[in-house]
């Protein structure tokens, strides 16, 4: 097991999956008497698309919140690039290079698309406040440089036309896309997507799947995503973790997972005859 962690391998469709980037070890998370996550371990490898699936209430979002630092698990630990992570605040974890989107859109409603994505560049901007106040030298240069990066993301996501529109006025599908753009702007090493396709029609789902694959392909970003649409999950993910009632019931390639009887039971129900 251990030497496998440092190996790379090539997937059937020709992409290289690297060594383990993040290892989640024996996480248990309780809210009072309710056990949301029970002794779950899995890993995420460099460059892969890792799906986390499971029925409602399985603990998927809680898992992302643990990785993010919103929840602090009672037991277990998280290793990022081989180092055990101490107790950290969400903004410190963001500075390590982990970005995410939310299940319910969490955009900055009062700001334009451009400003939302520019805010995603926060950790890449360093000019001191007094220089920003004078809009002088370093601050202005930094603003322009980051604007160029943001414009590339806007081009990539094909949202040029809504650059200056307040995001509150955008339709749902575009808001999801802007949120992805904001997360991408941080140039994350690991990108967490919480139901990126929830509530979308087939066409929007196709667009979003394409963007996710392109992000992974062009920027080499490692992606962990929660999704309910099994078709999409089977198509785009390299490996899948299945959770049910806070336990892990399956882990492997999409084909392996879908053949797992326990997974079939969790999704389709068990016959009691």
């Amino acid at each position: 097991m251990n030497d496998m962690n440092h190996d790379s391998y090539v997937t059937p469709d020709g992409r290289t999956i690297g060594p383990v980037m993040m290892e989640v070890q024996n996480i248990t998370l309780r809210f009072g008497g309710v056990v949301a996550i029970k002794d779950i371990s899995f890993d995420i490898r460099e460059g892969e698309i890792r799906a986390i699936i499971g029925p409602n209430g399985a603990g998927k979002s809680s898992m992302l919140n643990v990785i993010n630092g919103f929840y602090h698990p009672q037991e277990g630990g998280i290793y990022f690039r081989g180092e055990k992570r101490g107790p950290m605040k969400p903004y410190q974890i963001a500075q390590q290079g982990i970005a995410r989107t939310f299940q319910n859109i969490a955009l900055f409603k009062g700001m334009s698309t451009l400003d939302n994505i520019m805010t995603g560049r926060f950790t890449h901007m360093k000019a001191p406040v007094w220089k920003q106040a004078l809009w002088h030298g370093e601050a202005e240069r930094e603003e322009i440089e980051n604007r160029e990066v943001v414009e590339k993301i806007i081009d990539f996501l094909e949202i040029q036309a809504i650059r200056k529109t307040p995001v509150g006025r955008l339709p749902y599908g575009l808001q999801k896309r802007v949120e992805l753009g904001r997360a991408l702007a941080a140039e994350p090493k690991l990108l967490l997507l919480d139901e990126p396709m929830a509530g979308m029609n087939v066409e929007e789902k196709e667009d979003m799947s394409r963007f996710i694959l392109d992000v992974n392909d062009e920027f080499g970003t490692t992606i962990a995503l929660i999704e309910h649409d099994m078709g999409v999950v089977m198509d785009i993910s390299d490996r899948v973790v299945v959770l049910d009632y806070g336990r892990k019931i399956g882990d492997g390639t999409p084909a392996e997972v879908i053949a797992n009887p326990e997974v079939i039971d969790a999704y389709l129900g068990v016959s009691h005859d």
């Binding site: 919103f70 903004y91 939310f102 969490a106 805010t119």
Partner: protein, 358 residues
């Protein structure tokens, strides 16, 4: 027909990020600045300065400050009067302790002292939000007023408990004290207003401004992007209090000349500035000016109309003032909850298409 961006192409991100992207706006802005600096000082009378210009400029600074905190960062504050008092008393102590220090630096130092006090009272903002934070800042308001009343050191043990500004000059012209010329006082305040408005614009369009708005709009998403909530909120408190301290300093030293803390910096000042920000428009620099103008000018116009034109007795006119001002505030908030700035924006968007709306 003139007012539109068609044909006004931007070829660099610097051009695109400028404050007034539309040409007519830019000219309009230059014209206003020119008139304010080069023409108004020559036509001022004692009355216009003391009744209109000084209160407008000084409250515009306070409204800018509160707008940074409430409009941009989303932290409601009812402590504005208290923080203005800190600026005023800091100015008084500095003026009397260092008679040779230039009044310009005294005003800025007073702002810095207020910023420190503001950060202290901003500390609870990490834990409490919304109405509860408003109540916590209300505590700041009452505590500060009580403190300046209670401790004689702040008013140099004067028998009346008042503070009064001695005469200070810049380039040989008296800025404070009874001999100050109206145009000098006006220009002195105008320079602060102009500079602080420019600083506000730069701060709010840059990294720190975006982090303030991120905290305001969705604090969880802001954290996930790497924004440290405590530091961001405290920076908003610091910058906001700096502005409010400067306005309190000017209010006392240049406008009032002498002040008693409960009367000059009571809770009604906090509400006055909050109304300015709400009526003008939260999160808008133009709104801060529009709100300050509205709240300062409305009573003056109403008084001119009722007392000077219709010849009503002053006390009845004063009461009617309250009624009309209150009614207008409610009316504006119903018609446009986002304030005069949003109204202005709508007018501009209409103008862009005028006279061919289709």
């Amino acid at each position: 027909m003139l007012y539109r961006e068609a044909g006004d192409y931007k070829t660099s991100y610097t051009d695109d990020a400028q404050t007034f992207p539309i040409k007519l706006d830019r000219w309009w802005y230059y014209a206003v600045v020119f008139v304010a600096f080069c023409i108004v000082p020559f036509v001022l009378t004692d009355y216009t300065v003391n009744a209109i210009m000084l209160p407008f400029l000084i409250f515009a600074i306070a409204a800018l400050g509160l707008n940074i905190l409430t409009g941009y960062c989303g932290q409601v504050s009812l402590g504005t009067g208290g923080f203005m008092a800190v600026g005023a008393y800091a100015t008084y102590k500095l003026m009397t302790a260092f008679p040779d220090l230039n009044i310009f630096f005294i005003v800025i130092l007073s702002g810095l002292i207020t910023a420190i006090v503001g950060v202290l009272f901003g500390l609870p903002s990490l834990r409490i939000k919304g109405f509860y934070l408003a109540v916590a800042t209300l505590a700041a308001q009452f505590f500060l007023v009580w403190l300046f009343n209670k401790v004689p050191w702040f008013y140099n043990n004067s028998a009346s408990g008042q503070i009064s500004a001695p005469e200070r000059t810049i380039f040989g012209q008296a800025v404070t004290g009874p001999n100050a010329e109206p145009w000098v006082a006006y220009l002195f305040c105008l320079i602060f207003v102009f500079t602080l408005a420019w600083l506000t614009r730069n701060l709010t369009r840059g990294r720190i401004g975006r982090s303030w708005m991120a905290i305001r709009d969705m604090d969880i998403a802001a954290e996930i992007i790497g924004v440290n909530p405590l530091r961001t909120k405290l920076s908003a408190f610091a910058v906001s209090s700096f502005f409010i301290g400067i306005s309190g300093s000017l209010f006392f030293a240049v406008y009032l000349g002498a002040a008693e803390v409960g009367e000059a910096f009571g809770i009604q000042k906090s509400f006055l500035v909050l109304f300015m920000v709400i009526i003008g428009g939260l999160g808008s620099i133009f709104g801060a000016f529009a709100g300050a103008a509205f709240m300062v000018l409305l009573p003056v116009f109403l008084k001119i109309f009722f007392v000077d034109t219709l010849g009503w007795p002053t006390d009845i006119a004063a009461h009617i003032n309250f009624l009309i001002a209150g009614g207008l505030i409610v009316f504006f908030l119903i018609v446009e909850p986002h304030g005069l700035a949003a109204l202005w924006r709508t007018v501009k968007e209409k103008l862009r298409l005028w006279p061919f709306p289709h």
